[in-house]
């Protein structure tokens, strides 16, 4: 149990995919304009990350390894992720059309979010169990969602700031994310993975 907690904390905070490993920056910047959108994106990415890491694990251990097909991992995982993203796209479109509209292109882009593939690959190289793989995926999702929501909040507030012209827009968002990244360095050394 403690180990699983550590896996989650490690993936969410210590080795936060966005702020420490700098993966998935595209949706991080793209979907953090408004808190509502960010929460939706966090949910969608979380869904993809968790299901994709679970299914990838199953595909890996039930299909690829028994047939000695490890060299196909990348292809198979991309296939799985693509399907998971499509599923999420369907879900948001049917359950919350407004969110679907707000997130727009960013939902299909989850497929190319390197964090998702990264989680699946890291899972298989680290030889985790199914449960641990799921927790790692969920932890990565929590970490991604957390920083996405935080940055969205900060950006909403920064809109009322008097930012110098050259720094307006994405520049100040990246600076803000940079300072957040500095803050997340405080978690180094928490869990040795």
């Amino acid at each position: 149990m403690t180990e699983l907690m550590l896996v989650i904390i490690g993936a969410a905070l210590v080795n936060n995919f966005v702020l420490v490993q700098f993966l998935g920056l595209c949706p991080f910047m793209g979907a953090s304009r408004r808190v509502e959108g960010a929460l939706g994106m966090a949910l969608a990415t979380g869904l993809v990350l968790t299901t994709a890491s679970g299914i990838s694990y199953l595909v890996d251990s039930l299909l690829l390894i028994p047939f000695d097909l490890e060299y196909l991992r990348l292809l198979a995982f991309i296939l799985v992720i693509g399907a998971a993203v499509q599923l999420t796209e369907q879900l948001t479109r049917k359950l919350s059309p407004l969110l679907h509209r707000v997130l727009g292109l960013y939902i299909p882009l989850i497929a190319s979010n390197c964090a998702v593939l990264g989680v699946a690959l890291l899972n298989s190289t680290a030889n985790r169990s199914l449960i641990a793989a799921l927790f790692y995926g969920a932890g990565a999702a929590v970490g991604f969602g957390l920083v996405l929501a935080l940055l969205a909040g900060l950006r909403e507030r920064a809109e009322f700031a008097d930012v110098p012209k050259p720094f307006q827009g994405h520049a100040i968002a990246f600076i803000t994310a940079g300072i957040m990244s500095l803050a997340f360095l405080g978690f180094t050394g928490f869990v040795r993975l």
């Binding site: 047939f67 693509g82 049917k94 059309p97 727009g104």
Partner: protein, 165 residues
């Protein structure tokens, strides 16, 4: 090699099947965006956006066919609120479309009105009253300042005046 192809193809087919299944099983959600967009528009039916009313324009926005900066009476404020709702950048208002404003109302100059009745049916909110051969009048409290009647008056007897005056 063959095994790999088979496994990948099988995987792909299986996932396809799941996706098709979920697509069939999930009920389609009602898209409330058109209504939300409409509620942000001034709803004065001026048609200056190029659509025959606020609702059609809202539907066009929802479908992604129309830009959100085509509402002159709503002004910058409406553009901003639409951008906020749809999570878009705020475009500049298209000022070439017209200048309808809710702060003005139509007024019929009684000396020139010939009672042709052509302005009555075009008013989207039935704010013009009058029967043929009699002088017409505008109910200022109902008039939205949409300017639609202006073009239909053969003697140009309709003016827009400030609502408060």
């Amino acid at each position: 090699m063959l095994i790999g192809t088979v496994v990948l193809a099988g995987l792909a087919l299986g996932l396809c099947a799941v996706l098709v299944l979920t697509d069939r099983l999930l009920p389609a959600g009602r898209d409330p965006v058109a209504e939300q967009v409409e509620s942000l528009l001034p709803r004065i039916q001026c048609a200056q956006c190029g659509y025959p009313g606020c609702r059609p324009y809202a539907e066009a926005i929802a479908a992604g066919d129309a830009d959100i900066n085509r509402c002159p009476p709503g002004g910058e404020e409406t553009v901003r609120r639409l951008a906020d709702l749809l999570g878009r950048e705020v475009p500049a208002l298209d000022t070439t479309l017209g200048n309808a404003s809710m702060n003005r109302v139509a007024r019929i100059d009684e000396r020139n009105c010939i009672g042709c009745n052509r302005c009555v049916p075009v008013c989207p909110v039935d704010a013009v009253v009058g029967v043929q051969q009699t002088i017409h009048a505008v109910i200022a409290a109902h008039c939205t300042g949409c300017e639609l009647c202006l073009a239909h008056c053969p003697v140009d007897c309709i003016d827009l005046v400030s609502r408060d005056a």
